[in-house]
C-alpha cells in the first residue's frame, strides 16, 4: 500500500501535498482530468458529485459541485486552467463556491493549485501545491462545513466499529 499523503507548509500561504501511486503517470493524469473517473474518487464521504465539467486546456473552465446525500446541501469549486501539459503538469485558479454549506473559506480570491506528476519504475509521485490568497484563507479552507460533515461521517464510522 502507498505511503499516506505528506503535507508540508513551504510558506505562509502554501500547502504542499505529496503522495505516491502504484500506477503509471498516464492513468493518474486521466483520473485527474476525465469527469467519469474523477467522480469515482474526488470528493467526500456521503457526497455525490452531480456537476463535474472539465474543459482541460489553457484558459478552459471547470466546475465541480457536490451534493449531500442526506440533506441535499451543495457546495463546489470552479476555475480556469492556467497550465496544461499532459501527462505531467496541470495548474488552475480555483474559486470556492460555498453554496448552502458555507464555512470560513474566502470566496473572492482564487487559490492557485498545481498538480505535478512524475513516474519512476511504474510508481507515480504526485505533488499538489496550493497557494492561497492569504494565511487566513489557507486555514479557512479546512474549516468549511464540508469538513465538519466529514467529521460527522467519521464519528458514525467510529460508532459502528465500537459496536
Amino acid at each position: 500500500m502507498p505511503k499516506p499523503a505528506e503535507v508540508k507548509l513551504p510558506s505562509d500561504r502554501e500547502v504542499r501535498v505529496t503522495r505516491t501511486f502504484n500506477a503509471p503517470r498516464q492513468l493518474v493524469w486521466d483520473a485527474h482530468t476525465q469527469p467519469e473517473l474523477m467522480r469515482k474518487w474526488l470528493g467526500y464521504d456521503g457526497w455525490d458529485m452531480p456537476v463535474c465539467d472539465m474543459d482541460v486546456r489553457i484558459g478552459g473552465k471547470y466546475r465541480w459541485q457536490w451534493k449531500n446525500r442526506e440533506d441535499g446541501t451543495q457546495f463546489g469549486f470552479f476555475g480556469t486552467f492556467t497550465e496544461v501539459s499532459a501527462p505531467s503538469r496541470l495548474a488552475h485558479e480555483e474559486y470556492f463556491d460555498p453554496g448552502d454549506v458555507g464555512g470560513d473559506m474566502p470566496v473572492g480570491d482564487p487559490c492557485i493549485v498545481s498538480v505535478e506528476l512524475s513516474e519512476q519504475n511504474g510508481i507515480t509521485t504526485l505533488v499538489c501545491n496550493m497557494t492561497f490568497a492569504s494565511k487566513e484563507a489557507r486555514e479557512g479552507a479546512v474549516s468549511t462545513g464540508m469538513t465538519d460533515g466529514m467529521e460527522h461521517s467519521y464519528t458514525r464510522l467510529d460508532d459502528l466499529i465500537a459496536r
Binding site: A5, V7, W41, S143, M150
Partner: protein, 117 residues
C-alpha cells in the same frame, strides 16, 4: 470569531514557555491560581496575567462556582490548533485512497484489453 483570528490568539498564547508549562500542569488536573504559582516561583499577579491570556485564547476555563476558582484545560482548542494541518492530510488521504482503488481497477482493465490484442 473568525477561525483564523481564533488560531492567531491560540498560537500567541502558546508562544510563551511559562504558559505552555501551565498548560502541561493543567493537563494533569485542575489547579487554583495559588497552586499554579508555587512551582513557577512567580507572584500570583504574574501568574494571573498568563492565565488571562490562556483564558482569552480559549485554552483554559475557570470554574467560578468552586470557591478556589480552579483553572482547567480546554483540550478542544488545543486540538483545533494542531489539527488543521492534519485535517488537510485527512481530506487528501481519503480522496487518494479512493484514487488508489480506481487506479487498480484501471490497471486491471488495461491489462485485459492488452491480452485481447
Amino acid at each position: 470569531m473568525q477561525n483564523s483570528a481564533r488560531l492567531d490568539l491560540t498560537f500567541a498564547a502558546l508562544a510563551d514557555p511559562t504558559r505552555r508549562a501551565i498548560l502541561a500542569r493543567l493537563a494533569t488536573g485542575e489547579a487554583s491560581v495559588q497552586e499554579l504559582a508555587e512551582p513557577f516561583d512567580m507572584s500570583q499577579p504574574a501568574i494571573s496575567k498568563h492565565l488571562k491570556v490562556l483564558e482569552r485564547a480559549g485554552l483554559i476555563s475557570v470554574d467560578i462556582v468552586a470557591q478556589r476558582r480552579p483553572r482547567r484545560l480546554e483540550p478542544k482548542r488545543l486540538e483545533e490548533a494542531v489539527n488543521w494541518i492534519e485535517r488537510y492530510r485527512e481530506i487528501f488521504e481519503q480522496n487518494y485512497q479512493r484514487l488508489d482503488a480506481l487506479l487498480d481497477e484501471l490497471k486491471g482493465k488495461r491489462a485485459k484489453s492488452k491480452r485481447k490484442k
